[in-house]
Symmetry: C2
């Protein structure tokens, strides 16, 4: 039985995606063009993501603060690459309190400018370093084509911004945060990722280099999932972030920034979900278990209370659906909303000394004896679901990862069953542009220490030293 | 000994306030006019406030979501009082992605419009009600005069927006949330408040009525601290929020909204803090205890580790200052940052079997035996500090609360030792305007069920039935 409100994923992936967003009530279109309402079901996932990532950031020594949302044009212009990169996609405030502003201000598309301006005012000595701050906020980029969570004019994110005494420390930070994201994706979102360095063409405007976390969606399309930038002294020179170093000389600080967004909710949908709606890994699901009593016999109520107590003891989150809807309706609702485990219990089950436990990932219904130790049973099942989702995603990712030796192979793959294509690259931007002609294929990242596939560039045939992962992107 | 970076509170209160903000590193001026950087010390307080309030909101059945930050002008205009009330203080986005927009959009000063627009699309039956959603976000109001936390163009807040089947339910909600705020102010922020209804002149633009939480600062100035609005059907009619009621007839929903802001950080400063910097009630302090080892003798290190273990067991938050600064510097830093309890321990103390515990509120240094049960001692001390701060604030508030019977009395008080003035009011706006001539004195709220002070209005001498609290406001 299939959810009728949801188009099949293999028939029309784009339609399936928006159907799942709608059916699971994750987001709603708003009357503000290009912006969505993140509904409670979607926002609860974001809150969970924030909580886990925030703990990880705090454990790696970061503190949160809050910067203004508006950036005066002059401040924005100080770093030339940044303004060039972002100018086409910012929104400008030109009127405030019924007056024209003397200087227009943009709504932050990212906050390197404000952080740098602030850092220049608070840093004077190496004793002030490192500074490792982060903010959770909204940003705005004037996108033309938008899709819920994946590309929205306004989105929510976090942006870490750090300043260090030395290049080494700053580069260590850039790597450390990349690995925090990788850890989060793999161990919480159950999404396997590849990591590497962006090409010059694809790096962040103003960065020396950009490290990236890349994931593959069910349909073989790539998603840039988090980035970590090393800035060197580019911003510190533009914004005058100087400190007295250990030799008593003025030196410009070494900076990094790193971020990830509500786009992660889109990744969860496109990697794990199915034709029956949302599927959530237990570690990120706002609610892990749906308890659905059938009928309201006292024995059923007592059993439900007993189960609740057990789950509480184990720290497992749940809800009990006591509403007036039919059991079938409640089952479907728990399913479409991606609740990892569903427990069904009625008087007939109790008389038969049985309990039915349904897992969302495989949709199996497990009929067990009422005598099982429910808390350890559910804990094990949640772990199994978490592992299964990761392993299924990994298997699919590996099936859709190819090594290509010439453009014809790339073309054939991208036209039939797209995915990650590993191929050699000479380092020339012209070859990236050539590759783009194949269904918009872009370089995802340059792999570190990867065994060479060939000696020649897959595009131009010249000598090549870099193994690049290519893909069609969201 | 007094902190030299801080002006005395009794000499220049306004200067003292900004000195404390700066010395405790709560906020920094930014190069964005009228906007501040909320620094980590300030933001950590906000995170604590959010956590506690968010729990309270969830326990009263509310869920979080997220709305767009931009509001198209046409959508904003649908409720005429709202646009009139907010038009003078909104910022307009007129350009996006290098193009002039066809319709300008304002940055949300508050989100009744967007919530109402969304609610009209998701509500169709009484079965959908009540809807009780909240959002944590930034808002922008183009203020001319700004002060850190108290009045800033951009500030952070939460705004709850609910829809109910009946007037009764909606009014209950309005009251419930007022009491949540009162509870939070009194039991967490240790700030006594008065509650009541705003006059027609002072109510929220678009509300049927506004309930308010009002607090008195150290200098006798009033601070509107949180508000809860009953909208009746004003917005539901403007935005077409109709539902099929239990009689199978279409009816407009009954709405409320309620909010509080980062201004609360300003209230904490102006109620509790002193000439030595910030003073924080233990229940809201991000860190409750500063442990300052003197020297690095092994015995000292062992003792510190033992204390840490004890505090961990009790769930008390702390930091250990192992930096290279001098003990005196560390003491002063803990003090200016408002850490409620400071533990000082050196080898001499250990040899004398002593430990020094300093409380921030009274600045007493308590010398105790090393044999005390440190965890229950500190727990009790934190409770005592929390109570003492509340009681001191209450005593001061009561000392600065007056009953006035004529304008001369009001004038004398507001000119010498201002505070809350209770006086009778006839209900006429002209009398409020007359009162405003006395140093800008405004009605704070109309008290419910308060014993009448006189029979006549304090301003015009006509019959009066309402007891109003008046004050000079921030």
């Amino acid at each position: 039985m299939k959810n009728k409100a949801i188009t099949s994923r293999d028939v029309d992936f784009a339609k399936w995606y928006t159907d799942v967003v709608k059916a699971a009530r994750l987001a709603n279109y708003s009357n503000v063009k290009g912006c969505i309402v993140i509904e409670p079901n979607g926002y609860a996932i974001w809150e969970n993501m924030q909580k886990i990532l925030d703990d990880m950031f705090k454990k790696t020594g970061h503190k949160n603060l809050y910067m203004p949302m508006l950036i005066p044009e002059n401040l924005m212009k100080k770093e030339s690459d940044l303004i060039e990169g972002f100018a086409p996609e910012v929104a400008w405030v030109t009127q405030g309190g019924q007056k024209e502003l003397e200087e227009r201000m943009c709504i932050r598309p990212t906050s390197e400018t404000l952080f740098s301006d602030y850092y220049s005012s608070i840093i004077s000595s190496y004793r002030d370093l490192p500074i490792k701050y982060n903010q959770w906020c909204n940003v705005l980029r004037w996108e033309k084509e938008t899709r819920p969570f994946l590309r929205s004019r306004e989105f929510l994110w976090q942006e870490g911004h750090t300043v260090h005494e030395t290049q080494t420390e700053a580069e260590e930070e850039t790597n450390r945060m990349l690995n925090v994201y990788k850890d989060f994706y793999e161990n919480y979102l159950a999404i396997p990722v590849i990591t590497g360095r962006k090409t010059e063409k694809e790096k962040f405007a103003g960065a020396e280099y950009t490290l990236t976390v890349e994931a593959l969606m069910y349909n073989g399309v790539s998603l840039q999932s988090a980035t970590s930038h090393y800035f060197g002294q580019r911003f510190s020179k533009a914004y005058d972030i100087k400190f007295l170093n250990r030799n008593n000389e003025y030196e410009y600080g070494y900076q990094t920034s790193w971020g990830t967004t509500t786009r992660m909710i889109g990744a969860l949908i496109m990697v794990h979900s199915d034709d029956n709606g949302l599927v959530l890994p237990p570690k990120i699901a706002p609610t892990q278990v749906a308890i659905i009593p059938i009928g309201n016999d006292e024995k059923v109520i007592n059993k439900v209370n007993e189960i609740k107590k057990q789950l509480d003891e184990e720290g497992i989150t749940y809800y009990v659906d006591n509403s007036e809807k039919s059991p079938g309706f409640k089952f479907a609702e728990a399913e479409v909303n991606g609740i990892p485990v569903r427990i069904e219990i009625g008087i007939r089950d109790i008389n038969d000394n049985k309990i039915t436990i349904a897992r969302r990932d495989t949709r199996e219904k497990l009929v067990e004896s009422l005598d099982i130790d429910i808390k350890s049973y559910v804990r094990n099942l949640l772990n199994e679901i978490q592992d299964n989702l990761y392993n299924s995603a990994l298997k699919r990712r590996d099936e859709l990862t190819y090594e290509c030796h010439n453009l014809e192979e790339v073309e054939q793959i991208m036209n039939t069953k797209p995915g990650f294509v590993k191929a050699m690259w000479c380092g020339d931007e012209a070859c990236e542009l050539k590759m783009k002609e194949i269904k918009g294929t872009k370089s995802r990242c340059i792999l570190d220490n990867h065994e060479h596939i060939d000696e020649k560039c897959v595009v131009c045939g010249r000598d090549a030293k870099e193994v690049v992962v290519w893909g069609i992107q969201y």
